[in-house]
């Protein structure tokens, strides 16, 4: 696909398309890959567009160059109420902090972000929007049934705010911002693009039909274009949400470059690494099964799982039942530095995801020169040629891949070299160009003179 001339010809920032982004997580407040992906995509897009991003909660100290970042927590409810149904721009004042923080992915009993609660509790504020009262913003209620209300309120606030902003396209990310996207489209008539990073069908399985699924389905039906992060997710959108392919345009994620390093090994045995949330979608129990198969052939291997989630305890038990607990380590939640430390000593990376829209963690492993064994049920399998791929249920094949990698340096060399070449094509700049191409292909932008 060729880059449309608009990208090269436009030099003046004023001529660039104006994008109104709707995000949920955003650095420094992040829980998973979504926040990082939104941030990096925005930065890359700011080269080709004027981007305004509305998020529930921003940190006033966190300023992003070339990005107009608006946290709803920084806007006075009164100001919002006073925004009329006109296009006149009104100065947005930073007065109150409204916290709509929730964690859409994490279902466990313990939060990996205890400190976050303490950090933000002082900003709690009750607001009134129309008839709605805002007890729903209680921070103690992170994972309660109020998620629906939080998302709805975010939609109303964002839609109000949007009336004071100038933009060509609405670009929403995942279900948390879809209601906001729909409201804004309904009020302004501007085209709606929905970027799909993760779906309820990925998280909850194919039988998902709950409220989140319904929001996703409605939002995607109402959108003008869908940009899933992979063809794999595009297929899910088509197969499980009955959305026609004609409005699905996959945009693969990019990756932030890192300086990889190697560290001295922690164990005398080889190490196979898993880094992800311990939840159904990531297939952690397959990792235990695979480990068992590997250990039947080679005792000289340790298996490390970094991450936490509701499968933590069941995984411990499963490993113990199989009699491999002495070779199996669950680290719990690790910060980025510690994950990188593990990457610097791992021999093989494994991602047995059951349904993985993209899978940035596999790309991070590749950046560290680790051969990756990844499930075919992932978006990253589409962009990583240099990886060994298996169907997530095929534990025998995965085990044989691991064994071959542990015993054949030639295979390791070949896989990692190929993967390095793949990295050249995995960038946020590519992704940003694809996004703009998508807008153009669907004529979402006003005609440029």
């Amino acid at each position: 696909m060729t880059t449309p001339p608009i990208l090269d010809e436009l030099t003046s920032k004023a001529d660039l398309p104006k994008i109104l982004m709707l995000g949920w997580e955003f650095p420094p407040v992040i829980n998973g890959g979504l926040g990082v992906a939104c941030h990096d995509l925005c930065i890359a897009l700011s080269k080709y567009a004027n981007v305004t991003m509305i998020i529930p909660k921003s940190n006033p100290d966190f300023v992003v160059k070339n990005l107009n970042l608006i946290g709803l927590n920084t806007i006075d409810a009164k100001t919002l109420r006073n925004i009329g149904h006109t296009d006149t721009y009104k100065k947005v004042k930073q007065v109150h902090f409204i916290d709509t923080h929730l964690n859409p992915y994490y279902n466990g009993n313990a939060s990996p972000h205890h400190d976050l609660q303490n950090l933000t509790s002082q900003y709690l504020k009750t607001v009134k929007v129309g008839d709605e009262t805002a007890e729903i913003f209680q921070i103690d209620d992170l994972y309660g049934g109020d998620i629906i209300k939080k998302v709805t309120i975010f939609g109303k606030l964002a839609a109000k705010l949007a009336l004071s902003l100038d933009f060509d396209v609405i670009h929403a990310h995942d279900w948390m911002t879809m209601i906001a996207g729909m409201e804004i489209k309904a009020k302004t008539g501007k085209p709606l693009v929905v970027h799909v990073h993760s779906l309820e069908v990925d998280r909850g399985g194919p039988q998902s039909k709950g409220w989140v699924y319904q929001v996703e389905k409605k939002g995607m039906e109402y959108a003008d274009i869908l940009m899933p992060v992979s063809n794999f997710t595009g297929h899910i959108i088509h197969d499980y949400y009955q959305i026609p392919w004609s409005k699905i345009r996959p945009v693969h994620n990019g990756i932030r470059p890192v300086e990889p390093f190697k560290s001295a090994p922690m164990f005398k045995e080889n190490m196979v690494l898993f880094v992800d949330r311990l939840t159904r979608q990531k297939g952690p129990e397959y990792f235990v099964d695979i480990a068992e198969r590997v250990l039947q052939k080679d005792q000289n291997v340790r298996f490390v799982m970094a991450g936490t989630g509701e499968y933590f305890n069941p995984l411990l038990e499963r490993a113990a039942q199989r009699g491999i607990a002495h070779r199996f380590h669950l680290t719990g939640f690790l910060n980025l530095d510690k994950v990188r430390k593990l990457l610097s000593i791992a021999d093989v990376y494994i991602m047995p995801s059951v349904s993985e829209p993209f899978g940035l963690s596999a790309v991070e492993a590749v950046q560290f020169g680790i051969p990756a064994v990844i499930s075919k049920q992932s978006g990253v399998a589409e962009v990583l040629n240099g990886a060994l791929k298996f169907d997530y249920w095929d534990i025998n094949l995965a085990a044989s891949y691991i064994l071959n990698l542990l015993h054949d340096p030639v295979l390791v060399e070949n896989v990692t070299q190929d993967a390095y070449k793949d990295l050249e094509n995995i960038s946020w700049d590519h992704a940003a160009k694809k996004v703009i191409e998508g807008y153009n292909a669907f004529h979402l932008l006003p005609e440029m003179v």
Binding site: N385, L388, K389, L411, N414, D418, K421
Partner: protein, 304 residues
């Protein structure tokens, strides 16, 4: 591919093939064509010494320069063997582009193609169209009209009085060489590079090929025809073709023909088979060598 690793094995295989042709067709071949058109000066020279009067090769631009492939050439460093150079433009029109709907010449008719061939008149003596048998019915499926094209092609070619068809031996006897064709490095007809990179460019291919050829002495000394046959089959160039990791250029072509999910699978399966074969060969050698030992054992059992 054997020539690259072992000239003895190369000769053994060529002799086998010669015997097969004699057996089935009662003919003794006079012209040599190597696997995948793999070629260089040295192959031409060895083949000449084996008694062949001509050899087929790719007409590679980087070696031909401004010259046309439509004459016979003398391979550098040989005495009288002649080389037939593939006219890759005309060959690929049939082999690759025939069914390409984005090609300006699609759909290609026999008379059009014949008119291109006829343009050689006055500046050439042979037009060498070399392609796989797979071209007809596999690369180009029946629905593309490839067989109708073939039906009409001879008549269309013969419409020009200067053109007819000859066997390679007839052509080699009839025409003189016009120049030296100097190919110091290996050429072939595969991939965009037309070199050995379709089979021997990455670490896996080199490792696998290196290991199989390293077994030569041991396999031959087993004197076991089954093992030697098996060893020969493991040398088939396709095994290495499937391991090719040119994902970014000719990868789709390799993938189309590969029975494996990925080049890594091709390598892993091959190496498993090879490891097993190495064990079998070792065991066979133990059985072969100490013939006396075995007899002695027998004697000792009888004694006790």
């Amino acid at each position: 591919m054997s020539f690259i690793y072992s000239k003895n094995e190369f000769r053994r295989q060529v002799e086998m093939h010669k015997a097969k042709i004699k057996q089935h067709f009662n003919q003794v071949p006079k012209v040599f064509r190597n696997t995948e058109l793999i070629y260089n000066n040295e192959i031409a020279s060895v083949v000449e010494k084996m008694g062949y009067k001509a050899i087929l090769c790719e007409g590679v631009d980087r070696y031909l320069g401004e010259r046309t492939p439509n004459f016979l050439y003398q391979p550098a460093g040989t005495l009288k063997i002649k080389s037939f150079l593939k006219n890759y433009r005309l060959s690929d029109d049939i082999a690759f582009r025939f069914s390409d709907r984005n090609w300006a010449e699609w759909p290609l008719q026999a008379d059009t193609f014949a008119s291109w061939v006829h343009k050689v008149a006055g500046n050439g003596e042979v037009v060498n169209l070399f392609m796989d048998y797979e071209t007809f019915g596999e690369h180009q499926w029946e629905e593309t009209g490839i067989f109708e094209f073939l039906d009409h092609l001879p008549t269309e070619i013969m419409k020009h009085k200067d053109f007819d068809f000859k066997t390679l031996s007839e052509a080699a006897d009839m025409y003189k060489v016009r120049d030296i064709y100097d190919v110091p490095d290996y050429s072939s007809w595969a991939d965009a590079e037309r070199d050995l990179s379709a089979w021997l460019s990455n670490a896996m291919e080199k490792e696998a090929a290196g290991r199989i050829y390293k077994l030569e002495e041991k396999v031959i000394s087993t004197m076991n025809p089954d093992l030697i046959e098996f060893w020969g089959k493991l040398q088939t160039s396709d095994h290495f073709y499937y391991m090719c990791t040119k994902f970014w250029s000719d990868g789709d072509v390799h993938k189309y023909f590969s029975p494996y999910d990925s080049p890594y699978d091709a390598y892993i399966y091959y190496m498993n088979v090879l490891a097993d074969f190495e064990t079998t060969v070792e065991e066979a050698l133990q059985d072969v060598k100490p013939v006396k030992k075995a007899t002695r054992k027998k004697e000792s059992t009888t004694e006790s």
